[in-house]
Symmetry: C2
Subunit: 204 residues, 2 copies
Amino acid sequence: MNPAVPTKRTPTGRAEPGDTRTRLVMATATLLQRQGYEGTSIKQILKEAAATYGSLYHHFPQGKEELAAEALRFGAAEFTELLRQGLSSSDDPAEGVANCAHLMADSLRDSDWTDGCPVAATALEIIGRSPLIQRTSDEALREWRGLIADTLHRGGHSEVHAAALACTVLSALEGAELLSRVSSDDAPLRLAAEHLAVLTRAGL
Amino acid sequence: MNPAVPTKRTPTGRAEPGDTRTRLVMATATLLQRQGYEGTSIKQILKEAAATYGSLYHHFPQGKEELAAEALRFGAAEFTELLRQGLSSSDDPAEGVANCAHLMADSLRDSDWTDGCPVAATALEIIGRSPLIQRTSDEALREWRGLIADTLHRGGHSEVHAAALACTVLSALEGAELLSRVSSDDAPLRLAAEHLAVLTRAGL
DNA sequence: CCTCCGCTAGATCGATCGATCTAGCGGAGC
DNA sequence: GCTCCGCTAGATCGATCGATCTAGCGGAGG
């Protein structure tokens, strides 16, 4: 792993450090989020990351699939931060959940409806065809459920109830993002924010 | 359009009539649902539908994209039927909504987690890259929202409130399907059923 | 029976896919 | 200054992509 180096801007809009491996992972994360696994070619990744085949297969001997799994973990960590930020924005877990939806809506709108959940597009098309990527996606979704459940639990919900509610909260967030992106309209996410707050309060 | 002809079973599990155009559309609908647009090759479609290039480009001069749009409409109509069945299963709209989730869970479980929403996988990966397919997906989602909204409205919700709630209901269904498919577990959809019923009753 | 035409059959095209390979750069350690 | 090796550069591979093309089947109309 190389030391920190200056960063530059790329067409993906993501800041990318000089470290080649990191550039590859970040560029792949963005592209997977936007166009899924099959829709993203290695050549496009290399161009976006300003890297070459040699670098890619040096850092990821298993090729595209291995790189994609690493990129999903990277994107998932970013999304975890967004959730953490939303959930911690209020002492009221209902408001925290709603703010997650609003943060997602803001992020999507500001990025022309591209920057949402980093695993959804890839996960849906790969189910049953790449155990590695499916498992990686599953782990990300479970981490997010756990994060939401912890917040609900601390907010007064029973542990079992918090876990169940967290699952539906994440479902609604993921689904609302799909609707928002397809229609280029943040209304589904804003409505999800409102309704999830109601649901969270109703459960107490 | 040809007259009705005998059907046969294919590896997709879908009954397919002798009409070549219909076989193409049905096979494509199934494949898009399972592996998305980029993950589905024309060759695979032709094999699955027992058709050839000549037939495909005769019926769909614009090629893969035109066929995919038609297939999405076909799959969407099937899913509309599932929703209609769930929504009409009870006089209580809360139960109707919950039954939609249960029907989806049953369908997914029975098909090894493949037969869910016919547009989600394709829509997510194609956003911003195929106006035709994105618009077709959007129309399907809007139709489903309208169907749910009508039921809620008839169940006593105000028109505005019914539309808003219907949006979140569909979001939760779509998201819960994602979670269920990725984890090969129907729990997210069963939980969504329960929570959506609570939310629907809370809104009255 | 012959013609016509909607439809199907499948070879073939150039482009691009993911992957592999050899060659060579360039900083660290001696 | 020299060697060594982690890393990068990019040509090239066979396979497969979506698309186009000509050829020909076979039922309907005369």
